[in-house]
Symmetry: C2
Subunit: 324 residues, 2 copies
Amino acid sequence: MAESEFDIIRHYFAGHRAGRDDVLVGIGDDAALLQVPPGRVLAVCMDTLVAGVHFPLETTAAAIGHKSLAVNLSDLAAMGAEPAWATLALTLPESDPAWLEEFSGAFFALADRYAVQLVGGDTTCGPLVITVQAHGFVTPGKALLRQGARPGERIYVTGTLGDAGLALRMNEPGDTWLRMRLDFPQPRIEAGLVLREYASAAIDISDGLLADLGHLLEGDRLGASLRIDALPRSEAFQAVMKTMDPERQRLFYELPLSAGDDYELCFTVAEKYCGEMEARLAGVPGGCQWIGVVEAAPGIRCYRDDGTSYRPAVTGYQHFSGTS
Amino acid sequence: MAESEFDIIRHYFAGHRAGRDDVLVGIGDDAALLQVPPGRVLAVCMDTLVAGVHFPLETTAAAIGHKSLAVNLSDLAAMGAEPAWATLALTLPESDPAWLEEFSGAFFALADRYAVQLVGGDTTCGPLVITVQAHGFVTPGKALLRQGARPGERIYVTGTLGDAGLALRMNEPGDTWLRMRLDFPQPRIEAGLVLREYASAAIDISDGLLADLGHLLEGDRLGASLRIDALPRSEAFQAVMKTMDPERQRLFYELPLSAGDDYELCFTVAEKYCGEMEARLAGVPGGCQWIGVVEAAPGIRCYRDDGTSYRPAVTGYQHFSGTS
């Protein structure tokens, strides 16, 4: 039996509270009323997931629920923001209780981990599209911006790269480690909070390292050299690579450069802070890996460990590029 | 020629500024950084429009652009909030320059009227779905909530009711006055700001008067009597009514009770404030009309001017109700 919009909100979403005293009015009025702490600035970001575009149609409701919030928390992480509230616009072809139970369960499991309160949104009938806005706090002047890198600074990433892209291309169902990396990305909130003290610039990797590092560098008209052999590849990634023929091996060797959906952080740090920063991040989920250096000359140049230059075949994910 | 996501954002959305100094970082980073004024509380609301569900498929891009923001500003108006910022999640089947020009033009025309700055969002490829979040400020303790009405208080609405519903049912294209009421609803921001000083409770009418007044009353377990003949019907509405046969006249006579999409405010005011409130609202777009009285007994009872009771055939709009 189908439920009305109001029943869905009441049943699956309105009752779950994070116990925050900065939510003066939550779900149930025309708008939520929220109190930003004195001396803090509000950070907001909004990301949409479209079925069949941002996730395969067979993706579980739990993965969609987790990911719709995770990709937004990842943006907050890239600002060095402390998460606080979320809103959810959920457009659904039908009201399926099992689907809603699973979706909301995974959404709130992640929300609870960071004390994020769902404060509002909209539930509508239509093709499966999920938009989430995340809200966090930063101290003025302490936010991590995309601009700010300087030539000579080191480039780092958290976690490992290419796992989600490999899982997508292998298209294996189930809950393998690689598939979990695609379906349940972990926003690097803890790393972002540490990096406020060290990083000159930061971005999260949603469209692929080359594309997103490009966004980080372009505002300051800078470039970079990347050590492609140094890109962090997970054990699972390397194990799959070993089973492949040389042609596919070469293709997949590049995945950490171009594949999206990793939601790791890419950031730059002046050399004098690198030791302390690495020590601090060693104790934080994802850790970090030094992968290159900021350079004054625009463009991103890739090198192998033997010193030869490497020209990638593909770059980042482009929306609407199917028709361009 | 199709454009990439980044080109669309740059071309149609990123360049338009409202000149607000509370936007520290706008479009172009992982998140926007926003400064809520000291002593104010943040009001946020989020509404989704789905093509073919919330507007007819032939609706112009200008109407969609206007309405996607207007329905959210209407929610802020119902809180008595002062609008400040918006975010936009735009899911599009294709990147059509003419459509985008028209959509963004109408969106910004309305945004500019209230100095609303677009500070972020997401542009994705998929079925046409638009989610907007509006952000405004209220003074603590001064917000208009749905709860707070008391028995004996008068019930008012702004503007006229049923125009949008009539336009939808007549389905006439073009820019008739009634069609403009459907396609270009005017958020009652000015009225909401005045009402902070007088109203005990308020809601905006998106799902129909009976449904939304019901939401206003249900939190306090109250009821109401409504004067159905006193519901404000526009001249255009009355003119169309006159051309109809008696059966359709009766059906459409009820539209102001049940039709959604009017985006007027419904609010309650204690009798002692009504004179002053009416005088203040007389100078504000939409004005107001006294339509009923809050009562202790739950349920909404409708009466004709001759004192007979009137039982409406239909109530409010229910999402997902097509399959229930």
